[in-house]
């Protein structure tokens, strides 16, 4: 590998790492990254917007919880390529295919975590708020949701990281962000293009994860205070939540 110093030769030699590729195709890379971020952001935002009422319905009516969770799990089981293929006749070849598919996947994780977070609010806290004269709406937004933020953000992080990875598959309909570069690199046997796009994709996922973690620290200052025992039990709960939510990324 002649690497970054290789100049034009690394393009001719089809090296995995090629500085010349980064220089000459920077516009293409930027466009793909912007599309990738856009598709991911819109999908996760819509997923959150839909997950919220679904989690509330599942919590309010116990009978609804089974079907809601069951349906989202079934959707998660369907491989992404098949999901996009099934949505193509509905939306035509467009970004809507990819976004809809990704929204459906993110729902599985978001509904579960939101529901778990709301259900984990201690009954005593709820009682105290009611005793202070909180109505149902104020109780939800003022007490229950803030307490559910750690669980929600944990879900949001998993959903976002998975969505960043799965967006690449959108290249089958031409809306895969960095996945489009992976596809064209595959077609042209262009190693630098594939590796650069793949690395950027992983970096995007990591950056998104760190940003969401920072967001949670900002939103829940109270979790930083408290004794060791509290920190430990939260860490254990977090690890369990993650393990349960370990799901396919495809």
């Amino acid at each position: 590998m002649s690497g970054r110093a290789g100049g034009v030769n690394c393009l001719e030699a089809n090296d995995w790492v090629c500085g010349e590729y980064l220089r000459t195709r920077s516009q293409e890379l930027t466009d793909a990254t912007v599309q990738h971020i856009g598709i991911t952001a819109v999908s996760v935002a819509l997923g959150l917007l839909l997950a919220f009422p679904l989690a509330l319905v599942a919590r309010r009516w116990r009978g609804a919880a089974g079907p809601v969770l069951g349906l989202t799990t079934v959707l998660y089981t369907i491989p992404s390529l098949a999901m996009f293929a099934l949505l193509t006749p509905v939306f035509g070849v467009s970004a809507a295919v990819v976004v809809t598919g990704l929204v459906l996947y993110s729902l599985t994780i978001l509904v579960r975590n939101l529901l778990a977070g709301l259900q984990a609010v201690p009954a005593g806290v709820r009682e105290a708020a009611r005793g202070m004269g909180y109505g149902p709406v104020r109780l939800l937004f003022g007490v229950e949701l803030p307490l559910a933020i750690p669980a929600l953000v944990a879900g949001l992080r998993i959903a976002t990281v998975s969505t960043v990875a799965m967006t690449t598959v959108g290249s089958v309909v031409g809306y895969g962000g960095l996945g489009n570069l992976i596809a064209s690199g595959m077609a042209g046997f262009f190693k630098a293009e594939v590796l650069t796009a793949s690395v950027l994709c992983v970096l995007l996922a990591l950056v998104a994860d760190v940003l969401l973690m920072a967001l949670q620290r900002l939103l829940t200052p109270w979790t930083r205070a408290g004794g060791r025992a509290g920190v430990r039990s939260r860490a254990v709960a977090w690890a369990r939540g993650r393990a349960r939510a370990v799901k396919a990324v495809g």
Partner: protein, 238 residues
């Protein structure tokens, strides 16, 4: 409705099932690859996870592995492996990718299952004079069984999905029917292929749920009553 009718017609045309590119051959490829790779992944991940869990070491590794597995796009790994020297050796890029992505869910869940096995019960088993292997096989593994199976199911969903994506990197499997359909602008074929993949994925998931119930080492007894509250609270079981 025209699309559904078209897909139905595609599926009921005998010619589409026959031959190298037919459904029967692609389905066989898909199932064979998935089964072999899942078995390989289990052989690699489960002993490591059970051993680490038994010793109580390597927790960070187990959790981080799952996080990394999620952040890395399957599609990218498939294409990277195909372009690597490994790509000249037939199915090997697909096999390696399938195993790589099946290991994290298996390992993480089995490890956490072992760690979550009731410590009091494990201590009691030791106190009764059980040896290390006896504690492992007769106490910890039966207690960890639900999470081990959760991991197996996640890994299977992952493997079936990855085997579908292999088509994008020139591999075989049912995904090829979808990619060929996209290539020919044949919507009926795209939808038919997608339906086949979806049905396969759901059937496999259903079979595993059934197997999980039938093989439960503590079927019908202790687990149903004693550990129900603990399992109901964090994330509901499906």
């Amino acid at each position: 409705m025209g699309v559904i009718a078209g897909a139905w017609q595609w599926l009921t045309t005998a010619a589409n099932w026959a031959g190298e590119k037919g459904v029967t051959h692609r389905l066989a490829e898909h199932v064979r690859l998935s089964a072999v790779c899942l078995a390989l992944a289990c052989l690699i991940a489960l002993p490591v996870a059970l051993w680490l869990g038994h010793l109580g070491k390597g927790g960070a590794l187990a959790v981080n592995l799952a996080n990394i597995g999620r952040a890395v796009p399957t599609y990218a790994v498939l294409v990277l492996l195909t372009l690597s020297p490994l790509g000249r050796h037939g199915d090997w890029p697909t096999v390696l990718a399938l195993v790589l992505f099946a290991v994290p869910p298996l390992l993480t869940n089995a490890y956490l299952g072992m760690r979550e096995a009731d410590r009091d019960v494990v201590e009691a088993a030791r106190g009764m004079g059980m040896s290390g292997p006896q504690v492992l096989f007769r106490v910890e593994i039966p207690l960890a069984y639900p999470l081990i199976m959760t991991g197996l199911r996640s890994a299977t969903v992952q493997v079936v999905a990855t085997a579908t994506l292999a088509a994008l990197a020139g591999g075989g499997g049912l995904g090829r029917i979808i990619t060929a359909g996209f290539g020919n602008y044949d919507t009926a074929q795209v939808v038919a292929g997608a339906l086949l993949v979806a049905v396969l994925a759901l059937a496999v998931e259903g079979a595993l749920v059934l197997a999980e119930r039938l093989l439960d080492p503590m079927r019908g007894g202790w687990r149903a009553t004693r550990s129900a509250p603990a399992r109901a609270e964090p994330i509901p079981a499906d």
